[in-house]
Amino acid sequence: MRTSPTPTHPIPRMKPRTLLLGLTTILGVVALLGVVALAGCGGDATTTTTEPPSPTVGEGVSITPTEEGAVFPVTVTDDNGTPVEVTARPERIVSTSPANTEILFALGAGDRVVGVTSLDDYPPEVADIDTIGDFQPNTEAIIALDPNLVVGYSGNEEALQPLADAGVPVLIMNAASVDGIYADIRTIGGAVGTPKAAEELIVSLQMELEGISNTARETGETPTVFFALDDTLWTVGPGSFVDELITLAGAAGIGASGSSAYFQLTPEELVASDPDTVLLPQTVFSTVEAFAADPRFAPLRAVTEGRVYLIDDTTVTRPGPRVGEGLLILAKALHPDAF
């Protein structure tokens, strides 16, 4: 099974089939966009969602965007370990993943972002920015935007190679943990000329996370939780970003004893572990019943005692500056009385 880091976008689960799946892919992407667009709206009484996030960073986190401390030329090291030199303040930045886009905006570089993916949804300003592809960045479209900096994602290396060859600084980011987020913020901050703002953001996030984590710990409870990644019992295991958040939220993911960061449970394993809570991503499940009504899961206490929750997993699975919100969502679902 995989040990590589999570992508930031929730991926629809597909069963292996023949070439006809291509059309489904396209339809799926379109549908996904629609769902993501709707996700921000309020849900039913059974959903647990946080209040709409504030414009640039998460609730409770505020920094003053500043370009203090900017140094150019600067050499930063991306998550692939490649040293990348940025010779001057980048005026035109392209981001190929929503998480990185959020970081750029959080650091106050949002006005310099000229290209985002069609899957980007936060902050609202991204709607006006040109898109350069979806899961796969379109190299031509990126080149056409004439960027001075490309903030890419693990897997984009080949598509972004022509830009690197042409001398454009290309960073490959790959945050797989909370510390990874901090590192990415630092790297990106250095590259765009906002190192001090980056440090402030990191501190601010650390405090936010610590606050939530402490409150959760004070409840004294450590409920077990099954976090569903999709509707076929794929879940998160040790080393995954989401599992780390679950731990921080004062709970124990039942996948923590698993063999890898992402793996698939069997129904027996799920029933045997009988978690206290079940969390379902809104992007995959439209109602709690979709899971709770399944006769295989009827024996679960979480089902019989009504602790199956739909959550807006956008911020939970996206390792970006709104990680605090994500943690809060988890904490609220896991310790409803404390939050």
């Binding site: 590589s4 689960r13 799946l21 796969q136 031509e140 479209a141 080149i143 056409a144 992402y262």
Partner: protein, 346 residues
């Protein structure tokens, strides 16, 4: 002989039409794309590339020459190379098996390449193999599968067409089963695998073109050299032997060469279907079954077809890209039906 000359004239006409169409397609492919350049800009940027200083550099975006030279042009060439490979391999397979429904993926090449590529995708950390890891593994997978097919189909030194076909089905199914297993085992690479399976020229580069082209060119030349013998093989292997062709050796050589040519393309483009099956078929409807004309015409038509398909694939939903295999299937199918109705029979 009047009709013989007529046939040759028809061949020359077809080649001229195809060449003209190809030229048009090249120009079209050069000017369209996600980058949104106007044809005038493309023209000027090209001139700027060829003779710097002859055109005012401000008349086109600064990144335009680079984009044309390093992105669009290798992609265009790769489309031509892959189109040639698939179409000629398809024509050769159809001749060797005396079956107009034969296609280059018959002998396990596609399933083998798919497994190789999937292994490379899933265990990417599997290689500091870099960018060539995937094509190399895909090629190896294809070769392995084809070798297995051939070995399994040979009894006591004899390899009959029917046992080859059956062996191809058996090995293909087995490899596909392995592929399915790999796909089930991964969640987050599934998309990448599926997109590769449907074929695409997104990551074409000059390096890749440089590797694929000589292989495909060599394959094409060899297959063309065997064209007269292939004509005789159409009458059955025993008749071909009576007329002086070493049928066994011819068949073996052609299958190896056609499989390797296909693998060379597929390693870099994924599984683009339909081209190898339909292009030779369509050409045969137009100019007849003589391989000396069929192979070159198929090559040209295949190149044209794939170039147009790829251009469509990368512009229709820009900046998103549709896998080329979907376009080839959607476009080729109805076209072939139309051709069949016009001239019944093959």
């Amino acid at each position: 002989m009047n009709p013989r000359r007529a046939r040759r004239r028809r061949y020359r006409l077809l080649m001229a039409v195809l060449a003209a169409a190809l030229l048009g397609a090249l120009l079209l492919a050069a000017v369209v794309g996600a980058a949104g350049l106007t044809p005038a800009q493309v023209g000027r940027a090209t001139l700027g590339l060829l003779s710097p200083g002859s055109v005012d550099p401000d008349s086109y975006p600064s990144w335009a020459p680079r984009l044309l030279r390093d992105l669009r042009l290798p992609r265009i060439v790769m489309a031509l190379v892959a189109g040639i490979a698939l179409a000629t391999a398809g024509a050769t397979f159809q001749g060797v098996f005396r079956n107009p429904l034969a296609e280059p993926y018959l002998l396990g090449v596609s399933a083998g390449a798919a497994v190789g590529a999937t292994v490379a995708i899933i265990w990417r950390p599997f290689g500091a193999l870099g960018i060539f890891g995937l094509p190399a593994l895909a090629f190896l997978g294809a070769v392995l599968a084809a070798t297995l097919v051939y070995r399994l189909a040979t009894f006591a030194g004899e390899t009959s067409s029917s046992s080859l076909l059956l062996s191809g089905v058996a090995v293909g199914s087995t490899f596909t089963a392995v592929l399915s297993l790999l796909m089930v085992a991964t969640q987050y690479d599934l998309r990448t695998v599926i997109i590769w399976l449907m074929g695409g020229l997104t990551t074409a580069s000059w390096t890749k073109v440089a590797v694929a082209s000589p292989l495909v060119a060599a394959g094409f030349i060899i297959m063309l050299a065997y064209a007269p013998r292939l004509n005789l093989m159409l009458m059955g292997e025993s008749r071909a032997e009576e007329l002086g062709v070493d049928a066994h050796s011819t068949r073996r050589t052609l299958m190896i060469v056609a499989s390797l040519t296909t693998a060379s393309a597929v390693a870099f483009t994924g599984l683009i279907g339909f081209v190898g099956l339909m292009v030779p078929h369509m050409v045969r409807l137009l100019i007849g079954p003589d391989h000396r004309y069929l192979l070159p015409a198929s090559a040209l038509f295949g190149a044209l077809f794939l170039l147009l398909a790829d251009t469509l694939a990368r512009t229709i939903l820009s900046p998103a890209e549709i896998p080329v295999g979907i376009i080839t299937a959607f476009v080729g199918g109805p076209f072939f039906l139309y051709l069949l109705r016009k001239r019944r029979g093959v």
